[in-house]
């Protein structure tokens, strides 16, 4: 493990100040913070961020990006999450789709998609999971058959966040039959969510809200130039992609608002147990954040922090859940889902969403296997 504490440079500190000032100005007084990645889907907000140069930060200028660092992206992201800003429209595209297309896509794909993502105009969903394929991605059944000029795609994707709002999604599928090596013959196809042969059905979340969708693909024609990279290289793409999304601030900040508004609610009458809770949660945030930031520095230095990322994701997502229980303990009463304070509102939503934190982006169980192997290497 190679975690090192790091300090922010003057320009990084300036960036942070700029983002804070922007958020002070842009978020309305009655802004209700979102819970991390599940925060609001607000195209206008995303476009404003793009206008400031805060999307596609680590993307090269030639594709509309800003040639900045993983740490710069970290700083913008953590500030957005700390305020529960409505980053839903751009978040998956910015974190995952743009870097993936940059790395694996054709030049034409890069020019077609990345500038629009970076402008906050084009929103992506992820199309990995299937009804019978959760952690075991190599078992996907969605399959594309070669036809003249492209592929005919059939199958069902599930848990597709924001498919009903976004423009495209990258569909992991079989482009050649299942052989001995389960990891061969997979590809990612970039699919227009508005295609008439794509049917999107909501999967209501636990509390009735709508984030997830089931996406049915019924003879969807996908032109050859919408296969990401070479056909058959899908497995390599998605496994490296999972590493991208592991260790950022979105993996430990989802419930930060609970601490903030707990302090806000109880600061003048804090008892010993509540003081203890505030102190413990603060100490752990401060430390987890440094670990996550250290991973961004390793990436900027050209490293491949696979083990570190897996550890930080496991630490961070478990911590997000611990925060819920610690704050709930400090509140000590019935939690009203229609409560009048921001603390009550956030706590209620966190309780309902919390179990998902250690599921999304690869379950804890899968991560630990990755980390465990890496520790022996």
């Amino acid at each position: 493990m190679q975690f090192a504490p790091t300090e922010l440079s003057a320009s990084e500190q300036q960036l942070r100040d700029d983002v804070r000032e922007f958020l002070d100005a842009e978020l309305p007084d009655d802004h209700v913070p979102g819970l991390g990645m599940a925060a609001g889907h607000d195209p206008e907000f995303s476009r404003k961020l793009a206008a400031r140069g805060w999307l596609g930060m680590a993307i090269p200028r030639e594709y509309g990006g800003h040639d900045r660092t993983a740490v710069d992206r970290f700083i913008v992201t953590e500030e957005l999450l700390a305020r529960g800003a409505p980053l839903g429209a751009h978040f998956a595209a910015d974190r995952q789709s743009a870097p993936t297309i940059l790395r694996f896509g054709s030049e034409e794909q890069r020019r077609r998609f990345i500038p629009k993502i970076v402008a906050g105009e084009l929103w992506f969903s992820l199309g990995m999971s299937e009804p019978d394929s959760g952690s075991d991605l190599s078992s996907v059944r969605t399959a594309a058959k070669k036809v003249d000029g492209g592929w005919l795609l059939n199958g069902t994707k599930i848990w597709t966040s924001n498919a009903h709002r976004n423009h495209y999604f990258a569909v992991l599928c079989r482009t050649s039959p299942l052989g001995e090596d389960r990891h061969q013959g997979l590809s990612q196809l970039l699919v227009d969510l508005h295609d008439e042969n794509v049917e999107i059905r909501p999967i209501p979340f636990l509390d009735g809200t709508h984030h997830f969708n089931e996406v049915h693909l019924d003879d969807v024609f996908v032109p050859d130039d919408m296969v990401l990279g070479e056909p058959g290289s899908g497995w390599q793409q998605v496994t490296s992609e999972l590493a991208y999304e592991r260790s950022g601030p979105d993996r430990f900040m989802s419930t930060f608002g609970l601490l903030k508004y707990f302090v806000d609610t109880y600061r003048d009458e804090l008892d010993a147990q509540q003081a203890r809770i505030v102190g413990e949660v603060t100490a752990r945030y401060w430390t987890v954040r440094q670990l996550s930031l250290a991973v961004a520095r390793i990436i900027d230095a050209g490293g491949a922090p696979a083990v570190e990322s897996a550890l930080v994701k496991d630490i961070g997502t478990k911590f997000e859940q611990d925060v819920i229980e610690l704050i709930r303990d400090g509140v000590d009463g019935e939690v009203d889902p229609d409560g009048e304070t921001l603390l009550e509102t956030l706590l209620a939503r966190a309780i309902v969403s919390g179990p998902a934190f250690t599921l999304r982006g690869g379950t804890t169980e899968i991560l630990r296997s990755v980390a465990s192997k890496g520790l022996r290497a």
């Binding site: 959760g134 952690s135 078992s139 303990d329 179990p355 250690t358 599921l359 379950t363 804890t364």
Partner: protein
């Protein structure tokens, strides 16, 4: 008696299989309760279990009541049994009265004031099922016990509220309301109300957890990943076993607290039941969701409806923390030599009271 219990359990399970289907559960969440299930429970007399036959109930002790609550929890049946029978019905019986209500609810209401003319004024927060009740019993604590007042449901102003499972937890505003009836209870009576409220939520939790365990065992046995059922992986086994353990603990604590033909609950047993059940709700829901993965986070799948109840019931009737403080204070007051007699009292309330 154990035959009776098995009969009650299987009759209720069948009845709730008809009246608390997934569709009914969804509908109940819009309405704030499951009116159809309650009607059948009333017609068949199950709603009166725990209230003596002499007082218009169906008889039965707290053991039978725990079976009813367990089945209601298991079936996610949103009905006012705990409040109607175990609080309002019990208080009425204790006062030698008959409770004349289709749906009674009850709540301890420290925020109410009683005027010289006996009219009531003030607000009661989060009253279960208030919007559907024709009788609302408020218990207003004071230094010597409490005043109990029975209000007509249409004499108060109700603002709908809910818990995580969209069960009605309504605000009730009283603006000089004259009760239909009122009487005094002593401090022991007030304490029984609190213990019964806590116990009832613990029993609902235990029933729900039994179902959570069934779902978790089934899902992990059926769901295949990497070529075998996920229940074959040690990491998943751990989640299943932890769920089973917490279910066993909650169920045992509830059954042991009610054990015997007792009329009254005692603090150590009822507090233990609520402490253990509330903690079990938290721990089990974490493990069962982790074992289920994404499917558990959807509204359709049964786990979610149970989890939302568990997240509500663990706090309702007093949190684990609240009851731990109360129990701990009592244990310390009883002194060093009373600790083991209390811990080892088992189902014997008399042994606890001597401790």
């Amino acid at each position: 008696m154990s035959n009776d219990i098995d009969e009650i359990r299987s009759a209720l399970r069948a009845m709730l299989g008809d009246t608390s289907t997934p569709e009914h559960v969804v509908a109940a969440e819009s309405a704030g309760w499951n009116e159809g299930a309650w009607r059948v429970l009333r017609e068949t007399g199950f709603a009166g279990i725990g209230v003596p036959e002499s007082a218009g109930g169906s008889g039965g002790t707290l053991t039978e009541a725990a079976v009813v609550l367990g089945e209601l929890g298991r079936a996610s049946a949103s009905v006012p049994y705990a409040e109607h029978a175990l609080i309002a019905g019990w208080l009425a019986t204790r006062a030698g009265k008959q409770l004349d209500a289709q749906v009674a609810t009850a709540a301890v209401a420290p925020g109410l004031s009683v005027a010289a003319d006996e009219t009531l004024r003030g607000t009661v927060q989060r009253v279960p099922w208030a919007r559907s009740a024709d009788r609302i019993m408020v218990i207003i604590p004071d230094d010597d016990g409490a005043s109990v007042a029975v209000l007509a449901g249409d004499s108060v102003a109700i603002t709908p509220g809910r818990n995580f499972a969209d069960e009605a937890r309504d605000r009730v505003d009283l603006d000089g309301v004259a009760p239909v009836e009122s009487w005094r209870i002593d401090a022991d009576g007030l304490e029984q109300v609190r213990l019964r409220t806590a116990f009832a939520r613990a029993a609902l939790i235990a029933g729900a957890l039994a179902r959570v365990l069934e779902l978790t065992v089934r899902y992990t046995g059926e769901r295949v990943q990497f070529g075998r059922p996920i229940g074959r992986f040690q990491a998943v086994q751990r989640h299943v076993v932890k769920t089973a353990e917490q279910t066993s603990l909650a169920t045992m604590a509830v059954e042991a607290a009610a054990h015997g033909e007792r009329e009254e609950l005692d603090l150590p047993a009822a507090a233990s039941a609520k402490i253990v059940a509330s903690q079990a709700a938290t721990i089990s829901s974490a493990h069962s969701h982790q074992a289920h993965g994404a499917i558990g986070m959807t509204k359709e799948y049964e786990l979610g409806q149970l989890s939302r109840r568990l997240w509500s019931w663990r706090d309702e009737g007093g949190t684990a923390q609240h009851w731990s403080r109360r129990l701990g204070t009592a244990v310390a007051a009883a002194g060093t030599d009373a600790v083991w007699p209390l811990v080892s009292s088992g189902t014997d309330a008399a042994a606890r009271s001597r401790a």
